[in-house]
Symmetry: C3
Subunit: 191 residues, 3 copies
């Protein structure tokens, strides 16, 4: 600890390193340049409104390939040290939708409540929400959450589960995240 | 394509082949002739009200035997080309209830939202709905959905999930189904 | 059957043996004596209010160790003949939380509706409910249900699922339980 750090608040003297947050876009068309992905920017915009903690997005754009998605997720968690990783795309029932399979390949434990809560929130808006196979789980100190591909659905799902994300990261030893309670009220029981 | 098909709507000139829909009844007593199954007819009646698309039911009546149910489901999907298969019976916690196990044996991917939505809808009517292990999943171009055994519960479950079924079949390359919106409003996002 | 049993109601002449109910507390700190567990007593108090059937609790206090929890659950089911076993603690996402894994090790079939209903009920109270990995399942004639660690959350979860427990035990050949309908209305469809 330097003297400056004790005499002045770190936020004024030297800003904290922004927290890395993984954003993985799974899309054949976007990764081939045939389509401009809108899911990734929608996630980043939502995080920008929700988080008070400085963060930087670590993007990955990969085709709908199970091994490629799994490798990118593991890299974001293990090498890039992203303790929060959000995916967009590839969660439906179509043959090319393999994001949930790839996610299950790299997580150690699944948190079933995330998928349930996201489907339930989406179901209030559209009956086809039950077709989503979105899941979430942990890999070491990282929490991986599957989100849908459409920006409006991404916002619905993040609003449904994000209040529990900071506490989840606390429990698994991830980065500390603070939210803007006016936009997303994080809950830390007992805090 | 014949000339007649282009000059006149197919429905008037030569009616489309009715879509085959699998209906599997799992019941020791019904398959032994000790009991008249009411689940199968309840499914068929519900479909008759919901579907505008002509269909024909392909029935299978099997005992509560995991291998027999799995074989019948695979046959309905692969040989009978039923892209929608509905089962009734055998989803509870009793030792002879093995329909979910048999279904999991033949599907490639599970759609967790179906089971969740059916239990949630049933739970509004009876607290024992949580005992149901109903699930749904896809096998190639076929969607298999477990329904309960009681006619009233069948209607509750079908009402909860059927609006998403036609779009699901679109996504996996199954038959195109049109519903009567006055009875069951199918949702095709973006259509 | 003795003559006394036919001439007088068993409850007056010789009271029925109390039904054994397993209560497993998973906690490193409680099992090391560093902390007085409050989950076990909360379960017992709730059961005392809900059940009319005489019962006795069979306690097990074990550390957050997967093998130890699994062994204790199997012992409660197989040797102690507890047809209902309730656990408390160890269901979160933290590395030491292993109760769901241990439970899955010993059950033959999972009843997904229990976890869904408990999370849904808890979610009305706290957004971090989605972090719970609570599950339930059957092992022979025994039903095992994971509950959270906090007394208030235990009551929420038991209120959500217990109305279906007596009928579930009927279906798997477990002990017959009668509840006080003023506190917890058990549902036995068709009864």
């Amino acid at each position: 600890m330097s003297e400056r750090e004790t005499s002045m608040p770190p936020s004024a003297s030297e800003p904290a390193m922004p927290v890395p947050i993984g954003v993985l876009v799974a899309s054949d068309r976007a990764s081939a340049g045939l389509y401009v992905d809108r899911g990734g920017p929608a996630i980043e915009e939502w995080l920008g409104r929700a988080l008070v903690t400085p963060f930087r997005s670590v993007y990955r754009l990969v085709p709908d390939d199970r091994a490629a998605i799994a490798a990118a997720l593991a890299d974001l968690a293990d090498r890039e040290r992203c303790t929060l990783i959000l995916t967009t795309g590839g969660t439906g029932p179509a043959p090319r939708d393999v994001t949930p399979e790839a996610t299950r390949d790299v997580i150690a434990r699944e948190l079933a409540g995330f998928g349930e809560a996201m489907r339930q929130a989406s179901l209030r808006e559209v009956p086809t929400a039950i077709l989503s196979r979105q899941l979430a789980g942990t890999r070491g100190r990282s929490l991986i959450i599957n989100l849908p591909g459409k920006p409006a659905s991404i916002a619905t799902c993040l609003a449904a589960v994000f209040p529990a994300v900071p506490y989840c990261l606390d429990l698994i030893g991830g980065d500390r995240l603070e939210t803007d309670p006016a936009f997303c009220a994080a809950c830390r029981p007992g805090a």
